[in-house]
């Protein structure tokens, strides 16, 4: 059963130190606001899971929330490196970051396996890739019919999935559209699910085969307009490419990063306040 709560309450209730947390979003609908709240509430020792860790994971890592990262592509899309992610891996700052690295095909299948109640996923992948030499969670399985060997990865079963969606109705059913990524799989693979939404409506007005998460698979819904910015919410606002470019400079230096996070995230009460402060800085 879904509870409609504040984002702060959703994070306080459902994310605990040491949890494995998948904040998913494939470029689109990235749960930025939820990530900020995890930073504000100073969660520690999280295992962060995500195919495409981007700015919000860079921030979580740089602020010391993460013990481990499971991922398949870690960069600032279209810009370059994630400096906090690199600093953690290359120099162990602010603390060593364990990581389990996959390719997209494997991770997407691992979420689907988790959603399907299966312990592993088989894929025609990792052929000739060195990743299998470094990740003991890339194994193989033999087809019982053809004898072919296929790659196998363990299912992902996060403690918590966190996603941002366009709409929820008052019963707590959630609708997403556009680039839907692996959000449905992440939610169904997880034990608990937090959803932030652009708006709460009477009627989802969804098509017959729309990507809808029924209320009974969602633990908590928080109404957070623009909660995916600087990524985008299809039908609501565009991607702020400029911020992605600015992040490169903000995050490159440890002290600049820390100062920026303190001023904009730790010292703001919620995402609305954060956005106002960042907007003012950009226009200054």
């Amino acid at each position: 059963m879904t509870a409609f709560v504040s984002l702060a309450e959703a994070i306080a209730t459902h994310i605990h130190d040491g949890d494995s947390v998948a904040m998913e979003g494939f470029t689109h609908l990235i749960p930025m606001a939820a990530g900020h709240e995890v930073i504000r509430q100073e969660r520690r020792d999280l295992t962060l899971i995500r195919m495409t860790p981007d700015l919000i994971y860079d921030q979580l890592i740089g602020m010391g929330c993460a013990r481990k990262l499971i991922f398949s592509w870690g960069g600032n899309p279209g810009v370059g490196s994630l400096h906090r992610f690199r600093d953690a891996i290359e120099h162990g700052w602010p603390q060593p970051l364990a990581y389990e690295e996959h390719g997209h095909a494997a991770m997407a299948s691992a979420y689907a396996a988790g959603a399907s109640g299966l312990p592993f996923a088989a894929l025609r992948g990792y052929l000739g890739s060195d990743l299998a030499k470094h990740n003991p969670n890339i194994r193989s399985v033999e087809c019982p019919f053809t004898g072919e060997r296929l790659a196998a990865v363990p299912a992902l079963r996060p403690d918590v999935a966190v996603i941002h969606a366009q709409k929820a109705d008052r019963a707590g059913n959630v609708l997403i559209w556009g680039i839907v990524g692996v959000q449905k799989e992440a939610v169904l693979a997880a034990k608990r699910a937090i959803v932030t939404v652009e708006e709460i409506v009477e009627d989802l007005a969804a098509g017959p085969n729309a990507t809808v998460l029924p209320s009974w698979v969602v633990s908590a819904i928080a109404h957070v307009p623009r909660g995916a910015a600087p990524s985008y919410a299809h039908g609501y606002y565009a991607r702020d490419n400029g911020f992605y470019k600015r992040w490169d400079a903000i995050s490159r230096d440890r002290r600049t990063f820390l100062a920026w996070m303190r001023e904009n995230v730790l010292e703001t009460g919620d995402f609305g306040e954060y956005e106002e402060r960042v907007r003012k800085a950009a226009n200054a």
Binding site: F26, T27, H104, L127, S129, G178, V182, N241
Partner: protein, 258 residues
């Protein structure tokens, strides 16, 4: 002096490799620019697929990320990421996978994972993303990369995406459904695998580039085809299509940032 830059020529040449109606799985950055230029010039019915799930995207401007809204809005349809990698890529529905490369070796093996040791990298790169399976599942693979001795290396530090392995028929032992790299387009020329040894060989050189330049920009002893072609320069139509695309892109990304 030519009236185009080396990057422009590279993108134009890369675009020319894509026949109309090709189903192309497009990497972000240089591959995306080339694939969209092809669509806007000689290949109006090319099918562009992005790993974010968009099938048949026809963006007016180049995406900054692999999942920009424009890719979804202009697509025939958008599928989930698990479906994209299972039904469309591993399902064998892709003619050409178009990849970029941080490091590439003489057999077209690609590294986008780390420079240095995996566990103690000197530079941590973004990683595989979809590339490992694009490299083995697509019917063939095109690579686009700026050529330099730092990126075209004798030994890559890490094999992210399989090319022709150690050359010859050595790729066969991986039983990859796809055929691997068939051309590498650079800012200096085009390299194609030797039919027997599978070693990347300079088969076309761009106007104004010398063979010595190409060799100097290659970390292995670069082989040069006996019948070395000189690349046809960009046509006025190609150049104006590319520049218009890039101008629209710059304008759109500046606006969106406001």
């Amino acid at each position: 002096m030519p009236d185009y830059t080396a990057d422009e020529l590279m993108t134009v040449v890369a675009a020319r490799q894509l026949a109309d109606r090709t189903v192309c799985f497009v990497g972000i950055g240089l591959p995306s620019a080339a694939a969209n230029l092809a669509r806007l010039t000689h290949a109006p019915n090319i099918v562009l697929i992005y790993e974010s799930g968009t099938i048949g995207s026809r963006p007016e401007v180049l995406p900054l990320s692999i999942g920009d809204g424009e890719l979804a809005e202009s697509a025939l349809t958008v599928v989930s990421v698990p479906e994209m990698f299972r039904y469309w890529l591993q399902g064998g529905r892709i003619d050409v996978g178009f990849l970029a490369a941080a490091q590439i070796d003489r057999y077209g093996n690609i590294n986008t994972t780390v420079i240095g040791d995996y566990d103690k990298p000197s530079v941590r790169l973004p990683g595989a993303g979809g590339a490992s399976e694009i490299a083995t599942s697509a019917g063939e693979v095109f690579v686009i990369a700026r050529q330099s001795a730092r990126s075209f290396v004798d030994r890559i530090d890490f094999t992210t995406s399989l090319g022709h392995a150690e050359g010859g028929s050595s790729r066969d032992r991986y039983h990859a459904p796809g055929g691997g790299p068939t051309r590498v387009i650079t800012d200096l020329g085009m390299l194609t695998p030797d039919p027997v040894t599978r070693e990347l060989t300079l088969t076309s050189i761009h106007p104004g580039v010398s063979v010595e330049q190409a060799k100097a920009a290659t970390g292995w002893k670069l082989r040069v085809a006996d019948a070395l072609a000189v690349t046809r320069p960009p046509s006025a139509a190609e150049l104006s299509a590319l520049r218009a695309l890039e101008a629209r892109t710059a304008r759109a990304h500046a606006e969106a940032a406001e």
